[in-house]
Amino acid sequence: MKFNKELLIENFEKKNYSFCIQMLTENIIEKLTEEIKEHNPNFEYINITNLKTNALKYLDNSNKQIAIQLHDFIYSEDYEETFILDALLHMYESLSDENIY
């Protein structure tokens, strides 16, 4: 789903964090994919693992870190929803011109 700040805030206020996480995750993946394609036009997003692998190959340090962190959030059960959401908000802000906070 496309990034929609009003929808994000509305769901955040309703404590529908799952929705917010999903929206941010999808859009972060899209942005990272665009960045990777600038270096490797043949790149196709398959899963978060192949995104991370290609991010490590082609992207700068801070975007590599985003890809690594995203992978960690998806597969580790150590993180609270709110922690993930907070981190994703920062990640999205650093990748886009949006000022969410």
């Binding site: 996480i21 899963n47 693992t49 692998t53 190959k57 690594i68 992978h71 597969y75 993180y79 609270e80």
Partner: protein, 802 residues
């Protein structure tokens, strides 16, 4: 390695503080783990090796950590190989799909990916009778594939993983060269035995004789010509099958565990067995098995089935050989479920262990443990534990005149021996709640416990000295929190570094190894031994330490030293200086197995989901765990942190937690939709944790059968026992069948259990009818619901398609 400035000290610290704020009770779990599990592990080493110097002890522990780390690598290929068996099974049973896929693999868009030159002529794909894939075609497909795509390294990248179709292609990329090689060998062997057989196969084929008749004809000839022992020794049947049926036979054979060849199924079993035995062995060594057994005993005793817990403990496999023999009885899917359960536990246990090791190192406790006085103290604790456990009715005799030990001495000893408040309170409560104590507390003295104190410390002076010393032995809550804060700080930069290292290995292993090699001295220093395992790469910490020092050295020291200075006990005992190079070195060492257990988690969640989808599997109940359902049972709700459940042929259901997006992502890429089976009947065992999972022994099965019939059991215990009994028999539990609403209509009409599915994205629930997903009928409570259901039916649908 390049210098990185990804995480500034301030951002790393801020992130770690936020993370730690979500786990305010972590220090308590660490305390419990440390006292109940880690200290016994250390003491066991020390008591088994009284001759050890401190350096010997350190080396022993380094080797233990190395073996723990290496155990997780045993199963690194398992999940990908399992997904390949699914692909293989699919292609073996659908020859038309196999043929289409091979056809697609030579199309320009697929060829371009491999950057090869292309021949544009068209080869015949099948024999004239359409029954075979022409080997020339297969050979052509195989020849145009880039050689490096056959390498094992690609498996770990998951770069070409993704859709089920791509998984099938990857499998064929690996399998085709092997097939061609084996077929050529089979032809050579049969030619050497009798070249006429090949001539007969070819001529019968030209006549259009069906494959099964060709096979029978040639088989009759060699059965007549040769003795059975010779035929078996030459494996004629397999060779003949390969020559007559070609690639489809090769695929079917690749799933055959009884084949004399090295098949995919056999490789999978070998990998699974190694992984299960190794991880289980580590759990036994570090005390995780015992801990799980103790927790189970407590839970089961509350339920009223404490005896069953004892039986399970007695039946658990303490030796690698016993376990290896027991798991031979399990089929591959059950082994997959078992291995997944163990791997999932591994990441949690390895984290607890990493924390305990870090604390031990941080506060130099290892040296203290070797002190004979400390061991003397712990022996007193062992004796006290024995008394309090085995003497439920401690007898009290007054001894008011005793000067040593007094009742106050006893309670002081208990405070020091059981620093965890709940344990101390529990024991004190037991002692003071006894009837004699309630009548007159001054009349109470406890001979058993008093006797042990006197035995351990014959004089008051020795006792006082020991209590004072041990008072400060354990890290305090604040000290534990500082250690945890350090680990939380080190986590992100270390994770980043390890990811970069793995990427460099995946890109060019030779270049990596030459750039970051270890001297033998360094290897011994870090790992305690020199490796002879060709599948595991050990690398120097030097770049990592340099990076950490460059970015964080002074700020780290300043920040954490200031934390120690603020501790109330700072002036009373010495505290370590915060030396980043030492802290980071230890942390990387402890953290590596945790990183790899999570690295493999994407594959094992994917294969776990695939297990639930595979309708050919033996699991009657496997799928996603619902949080709740609508009243009419047409919709289900899934939590963000959800899980996959599988009722396997093991002593407990297998459950793995994961977040919903991870499952949805795999489903979408693998099947094209987001529908997954529902796991039923969690209420039977909700809140009854049994982490010590293993295959059933005949004794346990017998005990369960009898226990399931016991009508005196409390309801909750009865539901649990019946559930586990069903697992032992490989049957669908009655509780699941009975929970489904009956069909409406005539009374006493038998209804059938229908497996349910859920669309993760919409929450809508489905059954499968005639291969299609059909929304479940809304549930309306009727009188018919009182009639129990007893029939089951298999699904008729497919889990996935290409």
């Amino acid at each position: 390695m390049e210098s990185r400035d990804v995480w500034s000290f301030e951002s790393s610290l801020a992130s770690s503080k936020k993370f730690r704020s979500t786990k305010p009770r972590e220090y308590k779990y660490l305390q419990e783990f440390y006292f109940d599990t880690f200290i016994p592990y250390l003491r066991n080493i020390i008591n088994s090796h009284p001759e050890y110097s401190y350096e010997d002890l350190e080396r022993h522990i380094k080797i233990d950590i190395t073996k723990l780390s290496e155990a997780i690598f045993e199963g690194s290929d398992v999940y990908h190989i399992y997904l390949e068996t699914i692909a293989c099974n699919y292609l073996a049973n659908k020859p038309e799909k196999l043929s289409n896929l091979l056809d697609q693999m030579i199309k320009p868009e697929f060829r371009d990916t491999f950057e090869t030159d292309v021949y544009s002529y068209v080869l015949p794909r099948q024999n004239e009778d359409g029954s075979n894939l022409d080997d020339l075609f297969v050979e052509y497909v195989s020849s145009i594939m880039k050689p490096e795509y056959n390498s094992q390294q690609r498996i770990h990248n998951s770069e070409y993983g993704g859709t089920f179709k791509e998984m099938c292609m990857q499998y064929l990329v690996e399998a085709l060269p092997w097939y061609l090689e084996e077929k050529a060998s089979a032809e050579t062997r049969i030619t050497n035995t009798n070249p006429e057989y090949i001539a007969i196969i070819n001529s019968e084929r030209k006549k259009g004789t069906p494959n099964k008749d060709i096979f029978s004809k040639v088989k009759k000839l060699y059965t007549k010509e040769f003795e059975p022992t010779f035929i078996n020794s030459m494996n004629f049947d397999a060779d003949l099958n390969l020559l007559v049926y070609g690639l489809p036979f090769y695929l079917t054979n690749d799933l055959d565990e009884k084949s004399p060849d090295e098949t995919l199924a056999k490789i999978l079993r070998k990998n699974l067995k190694n992984s299960i035995v190794q991880i289980n062995s580590q759990f036994n060594k570090f005390g995780f098995t015992k801990r799980a057994q103790d927790i189970r005993k407590a839970k089961f005793t509350d339920l009223g089935i404490g005896n069953f817990a004892d039986r399970l403990t007695d039946a658990s496999y303490t030796s690698d050989e016993e376990l290896a023999a027991a798991i031979e009885q399990l089929d591959l899917e059950n082994l997959m479920a078992y291995n997944t359960s163990l791997t999932n536990r591994y990441s949690k246990e390895a984290t607890s262990l990493a924390e305990a090791f870090f604390v031990t190192y941080q506060y130099d406790l290892l040296r203290k443990f070797q002190d004979p006085e400390v061991e003397r103290f712990f022996r007193l604790k062992d004796a006290m534990d024995t008394h309090t456990e085995t003497d439920p009715n401690l007898v009290y005799i007054i001894d008011k005149n005793s000067e040593y030990p007094t009742k106050e001495d006893l309670f002081r000893a208990l405070r020091v021996l059981y620093p965890l408040k709940p344990s101390y309170i529990a024991i004190r409560k037991r002692i003071t709640s006894l009837p004699e104590a309630r009548k007159d507390a001054s009349k109470v003295s406890i001979p058993g416990l008093i006797h042990e104190i006197r035995k351990a410390y014959p004089t008051r002076e020795e006792f006082e000295r020991a209590m004072e010393r041990m008072q400060d032995f354990y890290p305090t809550q604040d000290e534990l929190n500082i250690a945890l804060d350090k680990m939380a700080f080190l986590f992100n930069p270390t994770k980043y570094f390890v990811n970069e290292v793995q990427d460099e290995i995946d890109t060019d292993q030779d270049a990596f190894e030459s750039s970051i090699n270890l001297t033998e001295e360094e290897e011994l220093e870090l790992f305690g031994n020199v490796s002879n395992n060709p599948n595991i790469i050990r690398y120097s910490q030097r770049p990592y330490i340099s990076y950490m020092l460059e970015n964080y050295e002074n700020q780290y020291k300043d920040y954490f030293d200031s934390r120690f200075r603020l501790l109330p006990e700072y002036s009373k005992k010495s505290h370590p200086e915060s030396d980043l190079s030492k802290d980071a070195s230890k942390y990387l060492r402890f953290y590596t197995p945790i990183f790899y257990s999570y690295k493999f988690k994407d594959n094992f969640i994917n294969s776990l989901v695939a297990l639930t989808l595979d309708n050919k599997s033996s699991f009657k109940n496997a799928g996603i765990i619902l949080d709740s359902e609508s009243d009419d049972k047409t919709y289900g709700r899934i939590s963000f942190l959800t899980g996959i459940g599988i009722d396997a042929n093991l002593t407990s259901p297998v459950q793995v937690h994961c977040i919903e997006p991870a499952i949805a992502a795999f489903l979408k890429e693998f099947t094209g939709d987001t529908i997954i089976p529902v796991y039923e009947g969690m209420d039977d065992y909700k809140g009854i944790s049994n982490q010590s999972v293993f295959p059933f022994s005949p004794g346990i099965k017998k005990h369960l059968k009898a226990l399931a019939k016991d009508t005196t059991l409390p309801e909750r215990a009865s539901a649990y026992v019946r559930r586990i009994n069903a697992l032992s028999l490989g049957k669908l539990p009655e509780s699941i069948i009975n929970a489904q609403p009956s069909s409406s209509g005539k009374s006493k009409k038998k209804s059938v259990f229908k497996r349910r599915y859920i669309d993760i994205k919409t929450g809508e629930l489905f059954n499968i009818e005639n291969g299609n997903y059909v929304p479940v009928q809304p549930y309306v409570q009727t009188i018919q619901d009182a009639i129990p259901l007893s029939d089951t039916t298999k699904d008729s649908g497919e889990g996935y398609e290409i």
